[in-house]
Point group: C2
């Protein structure tokens, strides 16, 4: 059978369904029904599925048990975990066929997904869509096992955290799809965490860069798939797999012609600890000298602030995950070759950011943010900014009041 002439092809839509939407046979049948409804729109559909419910955790528990808790071999782990998506993809194809739709499952290998050989967090190198294209041209709904690919060695790899989202966006790019639809157990991207204020509003759309800054919020989306969408300008639609409520479209800002709000949302991270190294001689190489021992110890550093020096010394402050504060201080005390007078630990902190491409080159937003926080009596511990984000570190117990006040001040409850 030869492929359909390109001019006759139907538009392609790639959908992705997460494991929490596929926990039981009944849920798989429900999702099959949703897929068949979308097929009725006259599009070619590629569906990427995660492993059913907790099945990945069950496989990890088995690997722990057979190795008495030692770290299992990474190559074996990848083949083991890849079976979870093989199970869900074949069951989904069966469910669709049983209701009269022509469907076929493809493993990562069969879908032509080629990766590097970094087991556990492989990167997609290339996708050969020949088989996938052939099956679409036969009129079939193609179900692809997410999260997995094939290294040149012939070994199975997995893509790591958020891997099935990455599979979906990459397949959308490779098939020149209209868009990639991510269906999950949240129903879209919100202006801020709805648990912090009932004013939080679901966004109809958001730009890729804003989404990357907001990524910790709401939708459990890995930044990697957003980055991939941004690089290839592939629109990503995030919505609930349990309802038909409209979700959020993440897309390239240049497509948005209407006037945008300055601030799109408020991102919050309540897992923040702080280290301040005082009395550091201010000369080249100091930052690297402080941070290298932390990198060697596997500690990720987030916000970094270095004040301008006075009398030739400066204070160097950075944040780490709260659980890492003590270890970070120990590492610096023991390993740092950078002369300093004191190391001060801080905890019970949170990071609150306002995010929005409308802030670029527009003055006044920082001042408004800081005066709003002052208005609720919140002391700002650290400040850092990017072109589309202003981040403050404040006390954790003031987060909720801060988010509510900022949400009001920037009128985020009003739609664009």
């Amino acid at each position: 059978m030869t492929s359909r002439p390109i001019a006759d092809r139907r538009p392609v839509v790639v959908q992705k369904y997460g494991g929490s939407s596929l926990s039981t046979a009944q849920q798989i049948q429900n999702i099959a029904e949703r897929i068949s409804q979308r097929k009725a729109d006259g599009v070619d559909i590629v569906v990427v599925v995660s492993a059913m419910g907790d099945s990945t955790d069950e496989l990890i528990a088995l690997s722990d048990a057979v190795t008495n808790g030692q770290t299992p071999d990474a190559r074996e782990m990848d083949t083991l975990l890849s079976t979870g998506e093989l199970v869900s993809s074949t069951l989904m194809a069966m469910a669709l066929k049983a209701t009269g739709y022509d469907a076929i499952s493809l493993s990562g290998v069969q879908a032509g997904i080629k990766t590097d050989a970094v087991h556990g967090s492989a990167r997609i190198a290339d996708i050969n869509t020949d088989r996938l294209r052939l099956e679409l041209d036969r009129g079939r709904i193609v179900i692809v096992a997410g999260f997995q690919g094939l290294a040149e060695s012939g070994d199975i790899t997995t893509l790591g955290r958020g891997g099935s989202d990455t599979t979906a966006v990459a397949l959308a790019v490779a098939t020149e799809a209209e868009r990639c639809e991510i269906y999950t157990d949240v129903d879209g991207i919100y202006t801020t965490d709805p648990r912090l204020t009932n004013q939080a509003r679901k966004l109809a759309e958001i730009g890729f860069q804003e989404m990357l800054e907001m990524a910790v919020l709401g939708a459990k989306m890995n930044p990697r798939s957003i980055e991939l969408g941004a690089v290839y300008d592939m629109p990503v639609y995030v919505a609930s797999s349990f309802s038909n409520e409209p979700g959020t479209l993440i897309h390239g800002g240049e497509h948005t012609m209407e006037v945008r709000k300055a601030v799109t949302g408020i991102a919050v991270d309540r897992n923040v600890g702080k280290i301040t190294v005082r009395g550091v001689i201010d000369r080249p190489g100091v930052a690297a000298g402080l941070l290298q021992p932390l990198a060697d110890a596997g500690i990720s550093v987030d916000v970094i602030v270095q004040n301008a020096s006075s009398d030739g010394t400066t204070d160097f402050t950075f944040t780490v995950a709260e659980a890492n504060v003590n270890q970070a201080a120990d590492v610096l005390g023991a390993d740092s070759k950078v002369q300093h007078t004191e190391i001060v630990e801080g905890s019970n902190l949170a990071k609150v950011s306002i995010v929005g491409t409308g802030m670029e080159n527009a003055p006044g937003y920082a001042a408004k943010m800081f005066s709003t926080l002052a208005g609720i009596g919140a002391n700002i511990d650290m400040i850092t900014t990017s072109e589309i984000r202003i981040t403050t570190i404040i006390s954790k117990d003031q987060v909720q009041k801060a988010v509510q006040a900022l949400h009001d001040a920037f009128e985020l409850e009003k739609s664009e």
Copy 2:
């Protein structure tokens, strides 16, 4: 890395472990320990594993659930079921590595097992052992996922019932192994079913042809793997995976130089129904005319006996599985184009056979069998023979007495 020169290669042993030996993480660790002990013998080891415990049944239940009990698509079913062996093979490799042995799992695809495209009961067409050989030459224990292969289309296939045994014997042939060791939940091949007489004795060895006649007894071995061993003269050793008791070696009779007993064992099948078609005109084409409608209805016929004709008509009798007796009679009544006077059904029957290559061209065994059965008052309903087997159909309620009497008469309790 290049392969080791062939002259330097260690002998290869292929082992196979069934699912009931791999039900839990602890059992997998126990089997890993057994494998590592065998490795210490200085051989290269290829291990074929079945899916863990009931995991295949669980996958089948899921497929039933998502299709509401319709027959699931055979291609999807094969990929789904193949995951069971991927799980057990990767866990086994992890368990071995965790105890300091170098091991690697290979899927059916990676082990080079190429099959035809008959999903659900594929036949092995060819095995490319390059990857497997390379891993053995690296000193690794190679764990192969049983029961599966790859069709030319790039689709996963499964080998059907007894598939992992077939994988093991085929890999033993392809790697020119010393022998194939099948470890299971029975500890060998017995002279007869030990539940019928406590005189039943485990055989140290048995010929391939005898084993094929005995296949329904004791070891849950599929005739297909025995046939493969017979064709390629690959010795197959069957033993318990739970103990170190010696098992049974199945091998080509021509290697056995010592004098063999005439009768090796007694095979029993208690699932026998009978159909007699009376008053059939005795002319060419009658047997085919009677049996074709049954084949079309999917009913397997076992023993067939046609008496010599008298006055131009004959009686034609055959056995089927007991559950199929009524259906078989209905089919013959409705569809048969063969003229007859009467169709008589019989049930509550059993098939008792004595098996042994020593009976070939040696008189007296049939007479001894029939007189033994007469001695316990058993009426023989049908008789059929092959070169190494004499089969009788008797009443099911006389089976136990018959087996005990025959076991005594042929002195099967005494070792060779």
